[in-house]
Symmetry: C2
Subunit: 376 residues, 2 copies
């Protein structure tokens, strides 16, 4: 069985105000061409179909159209889950009808335990979930983290494993040892919600979503598809595409890059160079550009002037900012790799001079889970 | 063929802050009981499924569940359209898959012209639409009103009429001569968007949505189902329920009232009476209540005191307000029966001393259509 493994489409995402619907539409068309060329048996989408829980109506329109083309017109079986950016309930609309035409969309934890039987492959579609949902499902109050939940989740999945078949897990979480980008809204990297790779070894392939870099994980039979497009300047050097996965006695997977309609690029240089035809004629000027100026002096109307040459500037900064700016940038970086629990614990200690007690920490974890849940 | 004709569900609607999901769930269950008892062949829902274009997640959850119970579990064919309160695009999600299981949901004008063939009945499902959509569809710039559009719409529908079959139209608009309630957001009653009953005579039955009063129209073979519940105090005396429609050589229809979980009621009286057990013990106190006090003096903490007896007061007013209040109430009533076009024309004349020219009026109609469109 041959699959395309994609994910993190984030339909409706904007890049500093620039609408990406055309680029997303183009990327989808490239994916469909590949599916036809490779005659795949199905398409796996590992969560974050939309960029937010209530997508704009234009995003809904594009996504509905994509589903129609993939499943109703081209007749590809589709195996999809909701991610942390999706509203599970909103995405769920139509789900029970989709199944009749081999479009399997799981949005609730309990759906993960009935595998989709597809030829010789059993697909377990595990949507993004919160620890409290696993606590309720397993009636086990000790489950406080995704890692803690995953042991039970996989134990239950194993009950339905058939020895003469292959098992594929589709999931949306952070696996220990992965590398991250800036656009994943992962407040808990390094925190409570990291799943050890060893837990996933029972599957012939694990199709992951959540991290936007397809090489975030390079060990075992688990892979991130990466995002459909470059969604932040930290992703400018990442190839984007899909995995072609052949699941059989052995699992074979290849990453296939897909071309962009408009790329995202960082330009660094002084103003005079950037404005010179000898330079800009070498540049694909309708790309989305993050420009870093090496000048130190004042340049009047700098953005307006640059935009006469480069219409789609999404970011403009000075490579040599003042010291203060550098400092604040460093602080931001330090914060990005810390979980909200750790942040609050630091703040608590700084303010009261005391560390959190175990009971306080437990209360904090519960509250933060609830807040994160509320923002879905 | 025997149908239930319902509409104007407005799932997610709140009554002055009170959530009605429980009441809506209950009304739906009564409808399903009737469907089973009467062994109907299908259920028609004539628009305004949701109360707003982006319903709350709880409303989505309830509505999804209702669809599953009606169509997937009880296996009733469902014939539905979007109304002016729905977002056509958002509601459309899943539509093409629904059809495979006899759930027909039309949200775009062009879908109206292919009838759903159902036994001996041809169902034309015409969603709520704006004049500009008809202009585009018919490539006819003269179409400026719903009335103007409807002549073309029905002309096109007639092309597919089969003589040996019955034709049913499902639509969501205002038919001339109907009576209105307060909760329909119909800014154009008496204005541009009134369809003459005579236009509808070619159908064996016209299942209408939009007006909340089921006796709004009592002529011909066209009926409003009325809303699922009482959604404003102007509806307190209206029975709520569904039409049982038998379409055959002759069309026979009966209105069946459905019981409420909690009714909406107006209480008028003086404070002392309302607070007396001899009075309130005769009242279903957990109903939603609009209270009109006949007292003229000051009553301290009046709402708090009343709520100790009547927990679900949605409105409190004085029957004998000051003169100023009465006047302003009268002005409001005068405005309610006027279209925005007429309002603006009055204002224009008052300010400039001149009536609108025909060209100005045309421009105004276009702008107002666009504004109304934008607020969907």
């Amino acid at each position: 069985m041959k699959f395309i493994h994609t994910g993190d489409w984030h339909i409706g995402k904007k890049l500093n105000g620039f609408d990406l619907l055309e680029e997303q539409r183009y990327a989808f068309e490239q994916l469909m061409k590949l599916a036809d060329l490779e005659q795949v048996d199905g398409i796996i989408i590992a969560g974050d179909l939309y960029d937010r829980s209530v997508p704009a109506v234009e995003a809904v329109e594009l996504f509905n159209q994509m589903l129609i083309e993939m499943n109703l017109q081209a007749k590809y079986p589709v195996f999809a889950i909701s991610g942390n950016h999706d509203s599970a309930t909103r995405l769920e609309t139509g789900g029970p009808w989709f199944e009749a035409l081999n479009f399997h969309l799981h949005t609730r934890l309990e759906q993960a335990f009935t595998p989709v039987e597809f030829g010789n492959v059993q697909l377990y579609l595990l949507p993004y979930f919160e620890p409290f949902e696993a606590r309720q499902y397993f009636k086990d109050d000790r489950i406080r983290t995704i890692e803690g939940a995953m042991a039970s989740v996989i134990e239950e999945m194993r009950q339905s494993f058939q020895e003469d078949k292959q098992q594929v897990l589709v999931a949306h979480f952070f696996v220990a040892g992965s590398e991250t980008s800036d656009s994943e809204t992962k407040v808990t990297v390094g925190g409570l919600d990291v799943v050890p790779l060893s837990l996933l070894r029972d599957f012939d392939y694990v199709a992951l979503g959540h991290l936007h870099y397809q090489r975030a994980l390079t060990k075992g039979n688990a892979r991130y598809s990466g995002s459909l497009l470059k969604y932040s300047t930290s992703e400018v050097n990442q190839p984007k595409g899909v995995w072609l996965v052949e699941v059989g006695a052995e699992t074979v997977f290849d990453f296939v890059e897909l071309p962009f309609l408009r790329d995202l690029q960082v330009l660094e240089g002084d103003f005079a160079t950037l404005m010179a035809p000898s330079f800009y004629e070498t540049i694909q000027r309708d790309n989305y550009l993050a420009i870093s100026l090496t000048d130190r002096g004042v340049i009047p109307n700098v953005m307006t002037q640059l935009r006469t040459i480069y219409p789609q500037i999404i970011q403009l900064e000075r490579a040599f900012g003042r010291d203060v700016k550098q400092a604040s940038r460093n602080t931001t970086e330090a914060i990005q790799v810390t979980s909200p629990t750790a942040l609050f614990a630091n703040y608590f200690k700084e303010t009261t001079g005391e560390p959190l007690s175990p009971r306080q920490r437990e209360w904090l974890d519960d509250e933060i889970s609830e807040i994160e849940r509320g923002s879905q």
